[in-house]
Each structure stands twice: as C-alpha cells, then as structure tokens.
C-alpha cells in the first residue's frame, strides 16, 4: 500500500515536471533569444543557451527610443485603470445597493463586455478621427476605460454585496454624507477586491493589441504594436522581437506573482470565489 502511494506521488511529480517544461519552454526560448548575439540567433542547429549573457539587444531598444513604447503602455493602462476603477466602483455601488436600473442595467453592462473588438473598432476609429484623438493618450485611455468598465462593475458589484449593510448604516447615522460613506466605508472594505480587479483591468489594457493597432500611429505606439513592427520580410529583427516582448512581459509576470490569491476570481469573472 505504502509503496503504491509512493509510486503514485512519483508519477504525479513526473507529470507535473513534464507539464511545467512544456508550458515554460516557449517563455524560456523567448527570453533567452534576447540575450543571444546575432550569430547565436541565426545558428544552425539552434543554440539553447547563449555563450555569454549580453544586453546589447536591450541597449539598442533604449538607444533607438523603442523602449519608450513600454512607457506608453504604462501610461495608457495605468490611467485607464484608475478611471475605470473609480467610475466602475461607484456605478457598481449604486447597482448593488439601490438596485439602480434593476437586472436589465446589470445585464446590459455585462453584455457590453462580450462585443468583439473588431466589430466596433472600425466605427470607433472614425469617431476618433472626427474628434481628432487618434494616436493620443486620451483616445486610448478613453477606449480602455470603456472596455474595462463592464468588468469592473461586474466584479465590484460582487465584492460590494459582501460588505455588511450595517457598517454603512452606522456611518450614515454618525453623520457621514453619502459620498463619505463610499469613500470611508465602501472603498476600504473592499480593498482586496479593488486591488484584484484593478490588476486585471491593467493587464487587459497592457496586453491589448487590436485597439492599439488601429488607434495609434507613431506618437503613442504601445509595446504590443511595437513588437509587430519587427515582423517582416527579413528575419533580422528576432533580437528586437524578443527583447521588446520581454520588456513588456516582465512587468506582468511580477504583478501576477503578487496576486496569486486573486487570480482565480479575477479571470473567472467572479464565478469562482477564490
């Protein structure tokens, strides 16, 4: 009995190991290429480990200014997250506490998330041309705010419903205004929820490609669009593809490392209470 249990455990470790190798190898490959020299990148057969770690591929990106696209991603994703979180949370509060708009409003808002980007990006582009906000921070921030709002409202509604009503009532009795109740009771009480939701909102905007592709030109190119600028005829740009991708991916990995606890609830649209 003991022996078969040990064997079982060993097999499970073997399985876990195989899976980890499978799912991490492409990431390893991407990262490793960014440290290779051109000779190593275009070596046949492929080199699995660069001779020396060298940062030239990154230095080039910083020297040519390509690396500022990561900053653009940061500004756009950061600002739209703050906006969406604030507007979405107060909206969610109204829906959760006062049942504003009833089920219809809540469902309509959720359905907004399901619209495929490609179906609406075209008219949005024309609208932006009209407003003159193509290739501006404002344009992308507004767009990501709008596309994240349904998610924020849906998630925060769930978190707010978990707050005991009595807390808010006693704050009202103590003479707080309604805004103060939101600011002093609701926000602090669902801090964990705010944090988790904000991270997903951020990652969505950070990783978006199609909106940024259509709505930026040269001024505020985000890193995802920049990566595709290196695709093309001659494959000489592999070093840039990988270094740029790594610059954009490392921040997300760091963020996700801190939020393991909230991951499941966040990506399941709240269906799993983690």
């Amino acid at each position: 009995m003991k022996r078969s249990a040990n064997l079982r455990l060993a097999l499970r470790y073997l399985g876990a190991l195989v899976l980890t190798v499978f799912f991490l190898f492409p990431i390893y490959w991407l990262f490793m290429i960014s440290f290779k020299t051109a000779d190593e990148i275009y070596a046949f057969p492929p080199v699995w480990w660069p001779e020396t770690m060298q940062w030239d591929n990154y230095i080039v990106l910083f020297r040519d200014g390509d690396a500022t696209t990561v900053l653009n991603s940061f500004i756009v994703a950061g600002a739209s997250t703050v906006l969406a979180m604030f507007l979405g949370t107060i909206c969610a509060y109204s829906i959760a506490r006062f049942r504003t708009g009833g089920d219809n409003l809540a469902n309509w808002i959720l359905s907004q998330r399901m619209v495929p980007p490609v179906a609406v990006v075209f008219p949005i582009f024309l609208l932006y041309v009209w407003f003159g906000i193509v290739d501006t921070y404002l344009g992308l921030i507004l767009l990501y705010t709008a596309f994240n709002l349904p998610y924020v409202i849906w998630m925060m509604r769930g978190y707010i419903l978990d707050i005991p009503l009595a807390l808010e009532e006693s704050a009202l009795v103590d003479g707080c205004s309604r805004w103060q109740v939101i600011w002093k009771v609701v926000f602090p009480m669902c801090r964990a929820g705010l944090f988790a939701t904000a991270i997903f909102t951020f990652v969505f905007a950070w990783n978006d490609f199609i909106f940024a592709l259509v709505l930026t030109r040269t001024e505020i190119t985000t890193y995802t669009v920049q990566v595709t600028h290196y695709f093309g005829g001659q494959s000489n740009f592999w070093s840039k593809i990988s270094a740029m991708s790594v610059l954009g991916t490392v921040p997300v990995f760091i963020v996700v490392g801190f939020m393991q606890r909230y991951l499941v609830r966040g990506i399941s649209l709240g269906a799993v209470k983690g």
Partner: protein, 294 residues
C-alpha cells in the same frame, strides 16, 4: 425604523453614481453600433463617398462573399478544436494537482504564466519556436526522427493550422486548468467517499458527482474562452497574418482587412453587424441553457 438607511438612497445620488459609466459605455459601446447600422446601408468605399441609401445591397453582398464565410468557418474550426482540447487538458491537469503534494503551489504559479502573456507576444514566441531553421521545434523533431527536419510550419498550407492551434492551446489551457482546479477543490469530499464505499468506479463517480458539482464554473470557463476564440486575432496575426493566402483568416482578421486595408467602409459595417448578430443569437441560445453563477 428611524434615521437614514443605506437602501433608501435619494434618486439624484444613485443616478449620479451610474451616469459617468453609462455615458462612457454609450459613447464607446452603443454609438459604434448605431453608426454601423447607418453606414451599412450606404455605399462608402475607398474611392466612393456615396452616402445615399443603398438598401440591403451590402447585406446581399455578404451572402455571396465566399471569403467571408470561409473566414467564419476558420473561426469555427479553430474553436471546435481548441476549446475541447483546452477543456480536457485543463481538466486532466487539474486532476493531477488536486491532491496535496509538496511544491504544488510553485507548480501552479509557474503553469499559469502563459495566461498573462500578451496574445500577440505569444504568437511571436511561437513563430520563433516554429521557425524552420532556427527554431527548436524542428530540431526536437529531428532528434526524435533521427533525420534533419525543415518543416515550414507557418508557410505550408496544412501545417499552419497545427501551428496556430498549438500556440492557442498552449496559452489558454492553463486558464482552464486554474478555473477547474478551483472548482474541483470545491467538490464535497464526503460525497466522493460515500461513492467509493458504494463501490462506484472512477467514471461513474466523475459523471454523477464531480461533473455536476463543477459544471457552473466549467460553463463560465467555456463561455469566456468561446467568446475569446470567436474574436481570435492576435495569435494568427503574429503567426501567419491569415495566410498563406486566406487559409487561416479568421472572421476578425477578415473584418480588419476589409476595413483598414481595403477601406470598404460600408461593407465592413455590414460584416461587423453580422458578427454582432451572430454572437447575440449564439449567446441567447447558450445562456438559456446555462445560467451564469452570480
């Protein structure tokens, strides 16, 4: 009950709270659809600025557009393979990690990394992996078969599908895994024990107890992934741009090409509306069967 209560909010306040969100959603969410409705009945193209009413002209053109229906079929094809594959693989992985084992959390933390990689980056990564000469996949295949391999993964017509599916399944299986793992850990242990005392086999336990218990989460996972696959764009864009020819063109890529490379304004409007209508019908049918856990 005296004194102010939370629920008896005055009307002004509750609407003030929702107003900004509704405004933004109307502007970015509803305006485009109204605009699509308008423009799709006109005759705008790159060269023709014709805003006169054209009736159903564009919609009739949809029916005859084989490229459109093929791109829709490609989308359906990718979904039909990737979704079940991700689901089954994810479920198998969740089963593997459901019991405690030392280092379990570390494995899980590592396995979910593909989910947060930008899809365009994951597409780029796989195009590096699949490169016929400098990519490791042909090299590994060469070791297995014992001869040098130079398979043109992203070029040869019938190899591009496996390449795209590979990238897609690699990225999103961990998503299924994570959700199903959470769902499986919520299954009532005492029921499982009772079943094993009654001598129920693994399969019957799974179908009678486990599956009904995890179904609500599984349904949400399928819904989320299904919607994502319907809009599949980034990975294909990075790997093949819809090529060779239009062989891997998904409905999203088709719409993009029509709108932003061929500037068929009115026709693109009709295509976009078609997508929205199809999706709405699909969702209505699906949601009738599955109510989302709230």
């Amino acid at each position: 009950m005296s004194g102010p209560t939370v629920r008896s909010g005055d009307r002004g306040f509750r609407y003030t709270l929702v107003a900004p969100s509704i405004f933004v959603l109307l502007l970015i969410g509803v305006f485009p659809i109204v605009y699509l409705l308008m423009v799709s009945f006109q005759g705008l193209t790159m060269t023709d600025n014709d805003t006169s009413f054209q009736g159903l002209l564009n919609f009739r053109a949809l029916l005859d557009d084989t490229r459109l229906w093929q791109s829709l079929m490609h989308t359906v094809f990718f979904t039909a393979i990737a979704l079940p594959a991700e689901l089954l693989l994810g479920l198998a992985m969740a089963q593997l990690f459901i019991d405690r084992m030392p280092g379990r959390q570390v494995f899980i933390a590592l396995l979910v990394l593909p989910v947060v990689v930008a899809p365009i980056v994951s597409g780029a990564t796989w195009s590096l992996m699949f490169d016929n000469r400098f990519g490791p996949i042909n090299q590994i295949l060469g070791w297995i078969t014992g001869e040098e391999m130079a398979v043109l993964w992203t070029v040869k017509p019938h190899l591009v599908y496996p390449a795209i599916l590979m990238a897609e399944i690699w990225q999103w299986t961990p998503f299924m895994f994570l959700l199903l793992l959470a769902a499986l850990s919520g299954v009532d242990k005492s029921q499982l024990e009772a079943a094993s005392i009654d001598g129920a086999g693994w399969w019957s336990t799974f179908f009678r107890i486990v599956l009904p218990a995890i179904w609500p989460v599984m349904a949400v996972a399928i819904l989320i992934r299904g919607l994502d696959l319907f809009r599949l764009f980034d990975v294909v864009w990075a790997l093949t741009k819809g090529g060779p020819g239009t062989m891997t063109e998904t409905i999203s890529i088709f719409t993009y090409v029509k709108g932003f490379q061929q500037f068929e304004t009115s026709y693109t409007g009709a295509v976009a509306l078609l997508i929205i209508v199809l999706l709405t019908v699909l969702l209505t049918v699906l949601l009738k069967r599955v109510s989302i856990a709230r």
